[in-house]
């Protein structure tokens, strides 16, 4: 393990400093910058066009979500988890539900597990489609890929709305199952959506993947090495883009994932283009999982009959539950002292930790690249600042 990798910014910061000459220009990008995906700020030090130093600044959207978790009951925290990564509410709910079920040893019926997998994969489709749209918007397309992405996203959000009542703030999972049992009409609607999602992806890739300008703008930009990625706690598509085969659906095998056949795409260069392509290929795998899950959806109760809704007091103890969210490993660490409120309610935010390596990826690149590299990390400020 090269120790140089480990110090933040590592050797390459110093080397960059010594060789450079001329006066440096410090530019503050954000928090009102049009391309930082929300209130996120980067203090970038430039020498001419090249970036010499990049310090991210957090906290503009900090609501102290974890202190809130300690003052509200276990059930009361569920709607707040929708507001963490507000692009993928269903996976946040599932991660919180899995952690509490592990804390209280709460069994979950078959049908609920299948519905949870279906909703998680739909969220992955939605999140990766949005990411591709935003990334191309940062590359400079004037809104066309973003509009196509949002057109498809709306169809998935309509499914969530007809199931849980709200497009983005679903508050759908409960400890021991789900709140509403999906009707056969809903399952058919999902099947048709999944059926023609492949056609949309083909059209989307025809517009973007072969485009020489996009390839020129993103290939070889923001390279991240596998060793640094693992060591810096990077998870999700960003880690797989560097070639590391790490997918919690395979390694933790939580829920009913072992019953489905799906592959995990891996990148080779760890640059922005690989991160984009890994997400697009993951969407195709999600479609395969959805088809299998919809086919095998069993009957039975959606909620464990013995699950207590109110007065839920898990025994004293702690638990760390995690799932493979669209942005990476999203986990909840809960410590209970037997009371109705958790003693400690901790969220493991994937996009916050993936930003650890933002400076390493941006050094030596230009300002335009820094914007794209930030876009490829796929951050949502609700989860970064909590």
């Amino acid at each position: 393990m090269n120790p140089e990798l480990l110090t933040p910014g590592g050797a390459n910061v110093r080397a960059v400093h010594d060789a450079f000459h001329g006066d440096l220009l410090e530019v503050s990008m954000g928090p009102h910058h049009p391309s930082t995906h929300g209130v996120f700020r980067m203090i970038v030090t430039l020498d001419g066009e090249r970036i010499v130093k990049l310090k991210p600044v957090f906290g503009y959207l900090h609501r102290n979500h974890e202190k809130l978790g300690e003052t509200v009951s276990y059930l009361g925290s569920m709607p707040y988890t929708d507001r963490l990564d507000y692009l993928s509410a269903m996976t946040n709910n599932w991660a919180y539900a899995i952690a509490v079920e592990k804390l209280a040893g709460q069994p979950v019926p078959e049908r609920a597990e299948y519905v949870r997998v279906i909703l998680a994969e739909l969220t992955r489709l939605l999140n990766h489609t949005c990411l591709a749209g935003f990334l191309m918007q940062d590359c400079g397309c004037s809104g066309t890929p973003l509009m196509y992405a949002f057109r498809e996203r709306e169809k998935i959000l309509d499914l969530f709305e007809s199931l849980s009542g709200s497009r983005m703030m679903c508050n759908y999972q409960r400890f021991g199952g789900c709140r509403v049992d999906p009707t056969p009409a809903w399952v058919d609607a999902t099947r048709t959506l999944v059926g023609n999602y492949g056609a949309f992806l083909d059209e989307f890739e025809a517009l973007l993947t072969g485009n020489e300008i996009i390839m020129a703008r993103t290939q070889g930009v923001g390279v991240l090495s596998a060793a640094l990625a693992i060591n810096a706690g990077v998870t999700g598509p960003m880690l797989r883009a560097t070639g590391v085969a790490s997918d919690l659906r395979k390694s933790d095998a939580y829920g009913v994932y072992p019953r489905f056949q799906f592959r995990v795409p891996l990148g080779a260069h760890g640059d922005v283009y690989d991160r984009y392509m890994v997400r697009v290929l993951e969407m195709r795998e999600s479609i395969r999982i959805l088809e299998q899950a919809l086919a095998g959806l069993p009957g039975g109760p959606i909620m464990d009959p013995k699950a207590k809704l109110r007065g839920f007091r898990p025994k004293a103890g702690e638990a760390y539950g995690r799932i493979e969210g669209p942005k990476g490993e999203i986990g909840f660490y809960l410590v209970s002292d037997g009371g109705p409120n958790p003693l400690r309610y901790r969220v493991r935010p994937p996009s916050f930790i993936n930003l650890t390596v933002l400076e390493d990826m941006c050094l030596g690149q230009t300002v335009a690249d820094a914007v794209i590299i930030l876009g490829s990390v796929d951050i949502v400020l609700g989860e970064v600042d909590r």
């Binding site: 020489e212 020129a216 592959r263 335009a368």
Partner: protein
């Protein structure tokens, strides 16, 4: 027989309609005054037509961009008093009123004189370029012997105005963006000029009406002899079109106003009517360059087929101009932006060499004009080879590290 006669008569009446109208209006004036009023009428109609074209070009851009993105585009602005709302046709006037009424903020550190002068100079130069384009058989405002040189001389002066805008705002971002804009404009002026030289060489004159005349006639009865249907002409047109995109700061090259990086580039400190002036200048520049492209390569006001001659020439010019402008908008909707170094590398290492080689192809084409029979195919084959071979070689060198990738899967 009378069909042809009909064509001829109606064609010619419509053809010279604008000119007869003008003479009708100014006929009773004494000689020197008539010359003055004639040119004023000409300038007036040109500005009116191009002004309206600019207004509805902004609307067309937003509506076509909308339709490409599966949304309607602006359709809510009613006609003022009869509040009839159809397809948002009143939108440009609403934008105009908004631009005029918006407060014109001038930063106190700014250099007041230059800050005011920049948009005015930019607009003046781009309007000057419009004067020399032949819009129809008889519709030419300025008949210069060296019209092409005049066009590019006025075009080159716009860089000065961009620099003034960037410098006068005394803002770190706009200065940086002005530098980028200048680098881009200068590096794309070379391929623009080089791509025009073959057309001038083949037509034998720098006067634009003469160039259009040279593209008249149809070979084999139906194929129009426009420059674009020759190998060197097609390559020249493509290079001209790409450089025109860059010169008017349009889509793949709209780096100076790259929102995602330098906010609004050298326009950051402009608001209100001055901001609208910049946009007007950009659209006028776009119209002028596509007008030039149509004149040099697409046969100006020539009709595409012989029996379509009866439609007046300015209609053909309008159709071609609009189709070129639509391609501008279409490209803006599809392509992302190039990075600064890629943009200049693309100009110096790809467009300039291709344009130089294109000179050679055009020279070969004009020398072998006499060949006939089987030699025609040899001539076409050699010309095509002279165009395609360097294109593939340079293309491969340009996109050396860039290629679609295949991905492995972990089960």
């Amino acid at each position: 027989m009378n069909a042809a006669l009909l064509f001829a008569t109606t064609g010619s009446v419509l053809e010279t309609l604008p000119v007869t109208l003008r003479d009708l209006v100014t006929g009773w004036l004494p000689e020197p005054l008539r010359w003055l009023v004639n040119s004023l009428v000409g300038v007036g109609t040109l500005l009116a037509v191009i002004g309206l074209l600019f207004a509805y070009l902004t609307l067309a851009e937003r509506k076509i961009l909308g339709r490409i993105q599966n949304r309607p585009g602006p359709n809510r602005t009613p006609i003022p008093f009869i509040n009839l709302r159809f397809f948002g046709l009143a939108q440009p006037f609403a934008d105009g009123v908004k631009a005029i009424t918006k407060e014109d903020v001038v930063p106190d550190g700014a250099d007041k004189v230059l800050h005011f002068l920049a948009p005015v100079a930019l607009l003046a130069f781009s309007i000057m370029t419009l004067g020399v384009i032949p819009y129809g058989r008889h519709l030419v405002l300025l008949e210069f012997d060296a019209a092409v040189l005049y066009f590019f001389a006025a075009g080159a002066a716009t860089e000065l105005a961009v620099f003034m805008a960037g410098w006068a705002s005394r803002n770190k971002y706009s200065l940086l963006a002005a530098m980028r804009a200048l680098a881009q404009l200068i590096s794309y002026e070379l391929p623009l000029l080089l791509s025009v030289v073959p057309a001038v060489m083949l037509a034998g004159s720098l006067a634009l009406p003469a160039i259009v005349e040279a593209q008249g006639g149809w070979s084999y009865g139906f194929l129009p002899q426009w420059h674009v249907f020759t190998p060197w002409g097609f390559a020249g047109f493509i290079i001209f079109f790409i450089s025109a995109l860059a010169e008017s700061n349009r889509s793949p090259f709209d780096l100076p106003e790259a929102e995602s990086e330098l906010i609004a580039g050298h326009l950051t400190e402009y608001s209100g009517f001055k901001y609208a002036l910049f946009f007007m200048a950009e659209y006028f520049g776009m119209c002028a360059l596509s007008g030039m492209g149509v004149t040099l390569f697409l046969g100006g006001w020539q009709a595409p087929l012989p029996f379509l001659e009866f439609i007046p020439s300015y209609v053909w010019f309008g159709v071609k101009l609009l189709s070129l402008l639509l391609v501008f908008i279409w490209i803006r909707a599809t392509f992302p932006r190039l990075r600064m170094d890629q943009l200049t590398r693309f100009a110096w290492k790809f467009l300039v060499p291709l344009a130089l080689i294109n000179l050679g192809t055009a020279a070969f084409w004009s020398l072998t004009a006499g060949w006939s029979g089987p030699l025609q195919f040899v001539r076409w084959a050699v010309a095509l080879a002279l165009v395609l071979v360097p294109f593939t070689l340079l293309g491969r060198r340009l996109s050396a590290g860039v290629a679609p990738r295949t991905y492995r899967y972990a089960t």
